[in-house]
Amino acid sequence: MVTVTINGQQYQVPEDVTILEACRMNNIDLPTFCYDDDLKLAGSCRMCVVESPGRPLLIAACVTPVFDGLTIETESPAVIRARKTILELLIARHKMECHVCEKNGDCRLQDYCYRYGVAESRFTDGGMLHFPIEDPNPFIERDYDKCIMCTRCVRACEEITVAQAIGVKDRGHHAQISTAFNGKLEDSPCVFCGQCVMVCPVGALTSKVSAAYHGRPSDVDKRVLTTCSYCGTGCTLELNVKDNKVVGVTSNRDENFSPVNKGALCVKGRFGWDFINSSDRLTTPLIKENGEFRPASWEEALNFAAQGLKKIKEEKGADSIAVFTSARITNEENYLAQKLARAALGTNNVDHCARL
């Protein structure tokens, strides 16, 4: 343990932590854009800078280790001046359309501008660059007029999904997040998992599926923690519910809640949820009679299926039946399905979609 002095108060902290971690352990909040617990450090947004007496430069807390005797101020006039200036520089290049932005109310840029009272930018000479939105993919909206270049999306793509679909192209003020040769996402190694959307602190990356003004993150009534039903992996996700309808899926990155996937999802879990409220969705079993389907109860439908199988077994033998199961059910359910085939139906004709 080492002793550090933060805002005039002494704290004992482990010697192998950064200044940011030491602050967070002691409930001292530092603003960050590029920092992410699960990603490699970038140290590039410079929002977490703190002041240490006697040092002419401000220190980026997220990438600087603590040492015994370290003294810092986290909200000194110089620190606040720096943060305000950086915020002014960022909003000068940011398309300010909070009133129609999907991230309104859940945006770090908004939060910090509010915290430091930055209403508008003085650094508007030269206007702002405009990056056209041209990506036709059905899942991820990429509006780089709102991008603050924190590169969390690039690091999430590389480190969580290991797709390396995006990187930074060009340099300086023209730098932009891009696929190789600035092509479309669907022509890149992108698998549309949406981890980039998950980590984006502003409205640059949003879900096209939950867009169209269904309900923004700040509007949802509740977030229901549940397990994805697409496969047996068992990823945890959060259904965003508004007016008793699912209006989006987000993920919980806390491993206490999300032990399997720690917030990471695949394209199906993150974007394939709009069937829930679809009018085409089957909500009751159907039995076909005279070429027409009619609704039935579960009991009636199961009996109907059992009778049908029994009849075939009696007439054609057990091996005329095969059981084919799905990766959408769990291992345990798959086990039960093969047991049903072998013990009840009496056949070894069992197969699974994952084998193909």
Binding site: C45, T85, L89, R122, D125, R171, H173
Partner: protein
Amino acid sequence: MAQEMHIVLKNRDKINPLDINDYLAAGGYQSLVKARGMAQEEVIEEVKNSGLRGRGGAGFNTGLKWSFSYNIKSDEKYVICNADEGEPGTYKDRIIFESDPHIVLEGMAICGHAIGSKKGYIYCRGEYPQVVDLLKKAISQAKEKGVLGDFDIEVRMGAGAYVCGEESALIESILGQRGEPRFKPPFPPVSGLNWKPSIVNNVETFANIPAIIHKGAQWFTGIGAKSYPGTKLLSLTGDVKNRVCIEVPTDTTIRDVIFHFGGGMRNNGQFKAVQIGGTSGGFIPESLLDTPIDFDSMRKIGATLGTGAVFVMDQSRDIVDVVTRISKFFEHESCGKCNPCREGVFRCHEIMKKINKGLATEEDLEKIQLLCLVMEQTCLCGCGQAAPSPILTTLKHFQEEYEQKLLPA
């Protein structure tokens, strides 16, 4: 009267740079033999005691830097020569290579022995293809003669990015990544190329090593300024008569550099300002010309020695116009990694353009000053931290030139 003193350029115009035999005949590679006969700690101690400080701009004690890498146990260590020479107006490294490439190879090999490295890289700027050819020839001659022993040197070429002269961006570039600086710590001597201990030194720094090993630390400390001993190569440009590369003891004054070695002003012009250390150096007015060029004296007057570029301006030069052009350079060269530099240099250039066109007000001056102060304090690397220097120093020393261009209140 002040005299040039040649340590780094001792073989300039005396040997054929493309013939290793000339270098050997002039006593070349004897220091490497001597160093290899010494313990590693002894070599490091000698360099440390000589007081040699990095000649690339940061002025860090070279021997101390080497000791950091030496003290770390690692299967691989690297010696990297920074020959990116991207500061506009700087051409000393090219002169060193074109006069005497082996002196640098020898310095690198001595460093290799001292820290325990078998692999060296020379990162040469892409605009010097002829130097790359020359270096490759020199390396193959040295290998043929066997003078380097088991120390291997490879040349890598830059692709024109200014920021790749920053040591960690240079390392990223060698690795084939985007030329963006890393945050520090860890510093390259601890964790550099391939995250192994790596010494990045400037061409001129390595070129000083053979003489220090040959003649000893004590000899070196007796030359030039006490806190920054030795000589410094300066490349003169602008409105000065002799636009040449000189090597002078570090206690030489700026006035002597310009009016003695530089031969005074061109076309009988009147001196107005000099910018030393490259594009990110501060502007120095006439009143400060008697400052010695050493690192600490320059820092005291709010300027830098930097790479040793000396850009002289006469009274016909419009300071605001010059600074506007400089700010355009930084807008072009910012890598875009950190917020204050990426956005700051762009806005600085825009505000400078506005001032230069006569469309600015007092408020714009305050605005650019605030922006520059925040950039100096918060930018990730030396590029962004130093970019405001020309603006801030001219606002200090040539404020009236800015005020003349403001809109009437």
